[in-house]
């Protein structure tokens, strides 16, 4: 069963186009969506959660068309946007009362146990919450209506390392159930590197790469050498490079590099930076 299936998705805005995206996320897995600001991450997430309509293409969430079966799909996904939008004056307890009438499967006990776990005060007004608390509250809401798919837009940005770690722990717990799946966008790549099974790179509305994380890490490596050495490598090996005065650093395809070169481990961040760089230079 697939948690998300996106087919030929296109959405045009005046100054931005999300161009023909194809994506599949199996259940039981986590996919990280990485991209610069304005690359189309939030647009993709809004399209999946049905907040905007696509110009063309189809989206299936847990096997159901997200437009035709919107009511059911809405129950099955928990969405966390980069800002929490609750009325300013209400408390977490009142949020629960509202959600009780919003979601068929609202689980009050689960919600309050999340509040306790995340040390959120149930009676404090939302406007007095810190940024971290607001984010934690949205996550608690998203997790408390028996959602099978979590869609998270930058859930960890602007949060301190301790809170980020707590939140990651919750995601690790959530994904222990193999019926569950997570789509998470972030530009804090180190968070994603731990959690994700799949990584998708978005750049200017186009999907550059969508691949298993382990494969990405295995296939790529960082090579540090002299510029001349790099020029002598067969074409297609180098996927992007940075020339400095004292040497050159390049992202290379590990298996295609001749023996004798010393390769270093590439991180997801390296792979992302170099892919975007070479896409900008028009080589990708």
């Amino acid at each position: 069963m697939t948690a998300i299936e996106i087919k030929n998705l296109t959405k045009r805005y005046k100054d931005f186009t999300l161009d023909n995206i194809n994506l599949t996320l199996p259940t039981g897995c986590v996919m990280g969506l990485i991209g610069e600001n304005g690359a189309g991450k939030t647009t993709t997430i809004k399209l999946i959660s049905g907040l905007t309509a696509p110009d063309s293409g189809e989206i299936f969430v847990l096997g159901q068309n997200n437009k035709k079966n919107f009511k059911q799909v809405k129950e099955d996904i928990g969405v966390v946007l980069d800002e929490a939008y609750f009325p300013e004056a209400i408390s977490a307890k009142q949020v629960s009362n509202i959600m009780k009438n919003t979601f068929r499967n609202w689980d009050e006990t689960a919600f309050f146990s999340y509040l306790e776990k995340l040390s959120l005060p149930p009676k404090k007004a939302f406007k007095d919450f810190s940024r971290g608390m607001k984010m934690k509250l949205s996550i608690a809401v998203a997790l408390s209506h028996n959602a099978k798919l979590l869609i998270l837009d930058e859930p960890t940005s602007g949060l301190d390392p301790v809170v980020r770690d707590e939140i990651l722990d919750i995601f690790f717990d959530f994904i222990k159930d193999e019926q569950h799946a997570i789509l998470i966008s972030s530009h804090i790549v180190s968070d994603l590197e731990k959690l994700c099974d799949y990584i998708a790179f978005l750049h200017k509305g186009k999907l550059l790469i969508c691949e298993e994380k382990d494969k990405l890490l295995e296939q790529h490596a960082i090579l540090k050498c002299r510029k001349e050495d790099l020029d002598n490598l067969p074409s297609g090996v180098v996927k992007g490079c940075r020339n400095g005065e004292y040497g050159t650093e390049a992202l290379v395809r590990r298996e295609a590099v001749p023996a004798g070169f010393k390769l270093e481990r590439a991180t997801i961040e390296d792979i992302f930076l170099y892919s975007v760089k070479s896409a900008k230079e028009g080589k990708a």
Binding site: G28, C29, L168, D173, K176, D177, K194, D197, K213, D214
Partner: protein
Amino acid sequence: MYILYIYSRSEVTVLEIFISNTSDQPIYEQICAQIKAHILSGKLREGDPLPSIRNLARDLRISVITTKRAYDELEHQGYIHTVPAKGCFVAKQNSELIKENYLKQIEEHLQQISELAKLCGLTNDDLIEMLRVLNQENL
């Protein structure tokens, strides 16, 4: 990073797995190598249950696919077997296979020794003498 596992056998076994995020060795190989070492050392015995893929991934804070790959590799090499809907268990160990494994490792080390010996001009007799002295000390 490390984890502890307690198995319900007659006695309690503690199994530790350390994952290094900075090592050059891929994470799945690190898991593989350590579980293998536990099996070869006898800490894990035939029929012992292994942690479920999802629990292990959660405890080590790594992705599910990485963990699955480690288990697949172990199963492929005959160290563990999967019972559908029950989980993974340590397989019956073939002593010949284990011996073969050790032999291979010894060969690899000997290869290195012979290269080093060539570099500093040691003869075969010198090497044999060294080994004899070492073994006597260990006794």
